[in-house]
Symmetry: C2
Subunit: 297 residues, 2 copies
Amino acid sequence: MGLVAVDWGTSSLRGALIGDDGRVLEEKSAPRGILTVPAGQFAAVFDSLFAAWMQPAGRLCLISGMAGSQQGWAEAPYETCPAGLADLARRLCWIESGRIAIVPGLCDERDGVPDVMRGEEVQIFGAIRLTGMTNGLFVLPGTHNKWATVREGRVTGFRTCMTGEFYSLLSQHSILARTLQADAALDEAAFRRGVACTGNGEGLLHNAFGARTLGLFRRMPPTALASYLSGVLIGEEMRAQPLQGIREVVLIGAPALTARYALALKTVGIDVRALGAEATWAGAYALHTVLNAGHSR
Amino acid sequence: MGLVAVDWGTSSLRGALIGDDGRVLEEKSAPRGILTVPAGQFAAVFDSLFAAWMQPAGRLCLISGMAGSQQGWAEAPYETCPAGLADLARRLCWIESGRIAIVPGLCDERDGVPDVMRGEEVQIFGAIRLTGMTNGLFVLPGTHNKWATVREGRVTGFRTCMTGEFYSLLSQHSILARTLQADAALDEAAFRRGVACTGNGEGLLHNAFGARTLGLFRRMPPTALASYLSGVLIGEEMRAQPLQGIREVVLIGAPALTARYALALKTVGIDVRALGAEATWAGAYALHTVLNAGHSR
């Protein structure tokens, strides 16, 4: 019967038609993130994009991401960590029984402060399937990055870091924006210098200011300052993670971004395995397999 | 002869007419920060505001702040730390010999990354004069906060923290802005909870996200979230400072802001002495005294 997998995010969506053997037969993307869809129009947008793929009777569609949020198609629950694929399968939010379901997000909590993800959970389970790593640290860089700990194939906990959003705010709207050239290519030496400086214990609120003064004193050219700032942010993020005893992490995300995390992690002696969209499709397929293996739709 | 002191900042300026005994006779402020003054117009703006005060022949005016930057009236040097009042007096940048001078800023450096202040140095020397504390930690909250260490009446080093600018960016332009009520009054309990959470070692990039999830899960009302975020930022800033063995710090700034730092510092057992604009005038007067005591104009 195959499977349709959709990662429906805030600003865009991606879909894949997946064969019974797990192979991706076709992919598409559209700038129809949930913020572009008026309330009540999700079914119509879905049909306009995926009606052809959903033609065969009995074909299942699994949707992950912000489509399951309050502002999405239907509010799917958050499954509490630790959580495995079977937990997600049990808590699917069915839009049409047996045909279209939204995958629950995950939540975690520490000291009374909740944390949440929507969509990344499917990518993590896909990465577990693709790498065979059922224990480890899985890192998903983006606007709001997730660092998830996996034990015996279950997500035992995770933390969100607003690194991508901080970078965007600082490089475009802060005093740093006056001197740094935001669209310059990655300068690896400047990036590594930014990562290294976060070892000084002075904190992000101070270290970010270096991207101003290094420019002011002409110690670094405008084309290198954005890379330095990026290094300061990613270095700061990295040092707050539970990296003790870790020798390899799994990175899932856009190649330009995972490459930066790979560079940063290498400075502290950690290797990476980097995955892209294939993790999403593998995760949806793995969930589909669990569903077929015993859970009624 | 008295003295005219001007703190000429980026977006506004303040001036005071100070008597020979150091008492402030008159004060004024104007929305004529350096960004509002076209190149070549600084003398005209100065005259329009201070001509009357400068009437008596031989009266001196000392200007501190961003008026000494590249974009200001004239570029004044940075004096390298450690620096005392006599160093500032020696390095004055005279606009009109013996009549109008710009006070140099200070610079410090660590691991090849410079740090700078312009204007705060005069406030610090004023605070030393007013409190009699010639050794200690002096904190100047604002958009770009300064934490300065003073030994035997000299500034031996300092760090800038972009806390005020981060708060403004996050509360107005980030995803947090969607749920928090930026203009709500300070909620002391939420603020203290934010400060406390920074002790978890998870870092600002993660802890700031709590201001989103606490709202999302209705654990904190929108009116408290801005205070929580403010606590997270100030707590993060505070924990990166050299507070070991410190029992009291001097705070210089606007009362609404120094009150928050006092609350945060109290949670780690540190008392404060808070000063406002009087520190600027006392600093200019102290510099004037040093000048008169032996340095030729």
